[in-house]
């Protein structure tokens, strides 16, 4: 089961700085495990961020994004208290959705 994301959404002026930490192996398909077997590709392909229900950010990733990914999104016209929802989907169709509320910095 996927671990929860850690989302920090802080308001700077009228721009929300949304920073997200994700627990995910982001396997390239080229790593061998301790037993010497190739670990299959396992990576997040898609990240979707909504602000007050509207899609603001729609990202496609490859396996080149680092393990335990970190990414950020900035949204103009945001207010403290607005809800932000982040969903990722990986190549095994695992997914995880978490949300956060924008706070004044």
């Amino acid at each position: 089961m996927a671990e929860p994301m850690k989302i920090r959404a802080r308001l700077k002026g009228d721009i929300a700085d949304i920073r997200v930490l994700v627990a995910h192996p982001m396997e390239t398909g080229q790593r061998k495990n301790a037993g010497g077997a190739l670990v299959p590709m396992h990576f997040i392909k898609h990240v979707l961020v909504t602000h007050k229900g509207n899609v603001v950010y729609d990202a496609q990733w490859s396996q080149a994004v680092s393990r335990n990914p970190v990414f950020a999104v900035r949204v103009k016209g945001a207010k403290a208290g607005d809800k932000v929802v982040v969903t990722w989907t990986d190549n095994k169709d695992d997914k995880r959705t978490d949300e956060a509320v924008i706070v004044a910095a």
């Binding site: 392909k45 509207n54 990202a59 999104v73 949204v75």
Partner: protein, 148 residues
């Protein structure tokens, strides 16, 4: 309306209507041709960005020297009006295209993500704005060497 924009809006509409499971919708949009391309030129082609113009309105922030190629932070800010999407390419990776970010509904033309880089290379940003493509690069040196 450009194709990326259209797929984004379609996806949002479908998801809102509950017609599609998120995973199905997003899987359809994933740029397989671009992500599986092995050379930068092919990536550009997949994005429709082969003729992208060099632009000084794209700011790439990244370490000149990265201590760990497994975690290279890349920040791209576009000052080009109507920026719709930013792609990040690590030119010497086996699969150069690392990520494409599309913006809508007030999202700033700002991308930040950490990527893996196999070796010292140019990081290229592709910006799509108003149906046109623009590009900028920055070199990132990756330190490679045995441990002390």
């Amino acid at each position: 309306m450009n194709p990326l924009r259209r797929s984004l809006l379609q996806f949002a509409a479908l998801a809102a209507a509950g017609w599609l499971k998120t995973s199905q919708a997003v899987a359809a949009a994933w740029n397989a041709a671009g992500f599986e391309a092995k050379a930068t030129a092919e990536v550009l082609k997949s994005l429709g960005a082969s003729g992208a113009a060099e632009s000084s309105d794209i700011a790439i922030t990244a370490p000149d020297i990265a201590e760990n190629g497994a975690v290279v932070p890349i920040e791209v800010v576009s000052r080009i009006p109507n920026t719709q999407a930013i792609s990040i390419i690590a030119e010497k990776n086996p699969f150069p295209l690392a990520a494409t970010m599309q913006f809508a509904n007030g999202a700033e033309p700002y991308a930040y993500v950490r990527i893996k880089m196999g070796q010292t290379a140019h990081v290229r940003a592709i910006v799509q704005a108003g149906g046109k493509f623009f590009t900028a690069t920055r070199e990132v040196k990756i330190t490679i060497g045995g441990c002390g």
